[in-house]
């Protein structure tokens, strides 16, 4: 079955309203907490049991992350939601914000309760005016019913939630850059450690999760960690929203069980556009290495399966490429993106992304040299693991992926000065 977790209001009229959300059991987990039926330890245990892993890209276990927050430390602590959604190919958080904002709100309130934090910020990318309006309206509704504000449902617990808007910068999706940005600064990532759980917004302990991660929590606590785990597979619990785009007949978001075969997902998305042959798939956002069709058709959609094949599930952004796609072109767009978005703090990233983008564009122009490909591979390798944040890796991994599986297209273009597929 589809749409069981974050999209469970989608079939209703005005799915974003508080009544629609309550009709599917929304805010019942918060009510259980207020009734004393769910305490801190149980919540953490259920989350751990559920095998919910961070939906922002890195797949870190959410229950474990929540347990790191020093809940008994005095002073302010913050709950931050990463709704920056900048990884090319990803468009799921926008739909959670637009169509089921209350489930995110309930997830963040529960996080606040677990962490003894009374303030939350939902950081949305700067262009998200429509989702922003929905979130503002939803927060007002939640306040009216005393789910937000002071003494929530009669508890000795206050929680205030603020929507924050960025202004255009992919790097602000990196959690420490996002924190800098909330503080009103340039979005430049911080060295880690210290991690946000110890030193986050305004120097205070902060928990950062992705929109889909927070929004999964109320459903997990309502139906139990075991229920969520069983939707997926061991170590890859639950459902996941896959954003399918590119060469398919029916692009869109599909919330399906983790571990669903890729070929079923492709079918849900209407198959390859115009009945063409599948050439390759970028399975987890533009930073995940591309995988050729024959490998992809045998995989299931979960962290472990895609990981074993040498790529990553990332944010769940599945970009489908048909037989007429020129891989050098796609590589050039990708390389240019990371060059544009590098914040410039570390030289391997700043110089390396620029160099890779220039060389791939030179090949595309027909001025490639035989030694370019080995150099590209080497430069990409030299960026990996040598930078403050993971943008460096995000830029290097796809380049290595294109070279690993489609080197012949690059070689052809260098030799013949034209695309192997486009003529």
């Amino acid at each position: 079955m589809a749409n069981e977790v974050c999209f469970r209001t989608l079939h209703l009229d005005t799915p974003w309203s508080i009544d629609a959300y309550e009709s599917v059991g929304g805010y019942s987990s918060l009510k259980k907490i207020a009734a004393g039926e769910l305490c801190y330890d149980t919540i953490i245990d259920e989350l751990k049991l559920s095998a919910l892993r961070g939906r922002g890209g890195a797949g870190f276990p959410t229950g474990l992350k929540w347990s790191f927050m020093p809940r008994n430390m005095p002073g302010q602590k913050y709950v931050v939601c990463n709704s920056d959604e900048g990884e090319p190919g990803t468009f799921k958080d926008r739909d959670i914000l637009r169509y089921n904002p209350h489930q995110l709100i309930e997830g963040m309130i529960i996080a606040g309760y677990v962490m003894n934090a009374t303030v939350g910020y939902n950081y949305m990318r700067g262009e998200f005016y429509e989702p922003f309006a929905r979130m503002e309206a939803a927060i007002a509704e939640a306040k009216e019913r005393n789910y937000l504000g002071d003494n929530i449902l009669g508890m000795d617990f206050n929680f205030e939630l603020h929507n924050h808007l960025g202004a255009g910068a992919y790097i602000c999706g990196e959690e420490t850059a996002l924190i800098e940005s909330i503080e009103g600064k340039k979005g430049q990532p911080r060295f880690k450690p210290p991690f946000p759980a110890n030193y986050g917004v305004f120097g205070r302990p902060t928990n950062v999760n992705n929109t889909e991660s927070y929004a999964s929590v109320p459903a997990i606590l309502q139906h139990g960690g075991q229920w969520f785990l069983k939707l997926g597979k061991p170590n890859n619990g639950g459902t996941k929203i896959f954003s399918v785009s590119g060469h398919v007949n029916n692009p869109g978001n599909f919330e399906i069980n983790m571990g669903t075969p890729f070929k079923d997902l492709l079918e849900l998305a209407g198959g390859v556009l115009g009945g063409k042959q599948l050439k390759a798939v970028i399975p987890g956002g533009s930073s995940s290495p591309v995988l050729p069709a024959d490998i992809m058709m045998d995989l299931t959609m979960d962290y472990d399966s895609i990981g074993k094949a040498g790529s990553m599930l990332g944010s769940g952004a599945v970009m489908v490429l048909d037989e007429n796609t020129c891989m050098v072109e796609v590589a050039a767009i990708t390389a240019h993106f990371y060059y544009e978005e590098s914040c410039g703090q570390c030289s391997p990233c700043r110089e390396g992304t620029g160099w890779m983008s220039r060389v791939i564009h030179r090949i595309l122009k027909g001025d490639g040299r035989a030694e370019d490909l080995d150099n590209l591979d080497r430069v990409a390798g030299n960026i990996m693991g040598r930078t403050i944040c993971a943008l460096g890796d995000a830029a290097a991994m796809p380049v290595q992926g294109f070279l690993k599986h489609f080197r012949h297209e690059f070689e052809y273009m260098i030799e013949h000065k034209r695309s192997m597929v486009k003529g």
Binding site: Y121, G168, G184, K186, E340
Partner: protein
């Protein structure tokens, strides 16, 4: 925190409508009162919107003074984030995504059609100052590729007809506002 010779006629309250000031004050309230910088981004966005889509030195200075932060703090933010324009742009900035999914679904044709219709290239503004075309990175709407954003609204699954409709809707808005100002001038 601001320059000693700061011109008081450039106070933000003299440059913006009371509504716009109220909007900025609303943002200020979201952050701890002892923190001055968090509302910078939001304030700049409000100011830019009320200044025909771009920022000037004076406006940045006025924001710095209003929020009580160093001018450089505002300037750093304005130059870092891509939604801020530091040069004059059109009243309607048409942002076309040309990242992977949009390119796979014909972003180049969208750009070509816009360029032909408006007789400008990407990065340029029409002579009447009404339109600017710019290309942007993925806007998280790849399921509706190709797409563009203008005046805070996303337009997805673009076709030539849809683009023509968007342009004529903007033209109608422009015509209306011109007529309005003519009426006001006569009064």
């Amino acid at each position: 925190m601001t320059d000693f010779n700061y011109d008081q006629t450039l106070h933000l309250k003299n440059l913006l409508s009371p509504d716009a000031i109220a909007e900025i004050d609303g943002w200020i309230k979201k952050y701890p009162p002892e923190r001055k910088r968090p509302p910078i981004i939001a304030a700049l966005k409000v100011v830019q919107e009320h200044n025909g889509n771009y920022l000037t030195e004076e406006l940045m200075q006025a924001v710095a003074e209003y929020l009580d932060v160093p001018h450089i703090a505002v300037y750093e933010v304005a130059t870092f984030y891509s939604m801020f324009h530091l040069n004059e742009v059109g009243k309607h900035v048409i942002s076309v995504c040309n990242n992977i999914s949009c390119s796979l679904r014909g972003a180049d044709k969208v750009i070509e059609h816009l360029q032909n219709r408006l007789n400008i290239k990407v990065g340029e503004t029409t002579d009447d100052g009404v339109y600017t075309i710019k290309t942007v990175e993925c806007m998280a709407a790849c399921g509706g590729a190709p797409m563009l954003e203008v005046d805070k609204v996303y337009h997805e699954n673009l076709t030539e007809e849809k683009i023509d409709q968007i342009l004529s809707d903007i033209a109608a808005v422009e015509l209306n506002s011109k007529e309005m100002s003519n009426v006001e001038a006569k009064d």
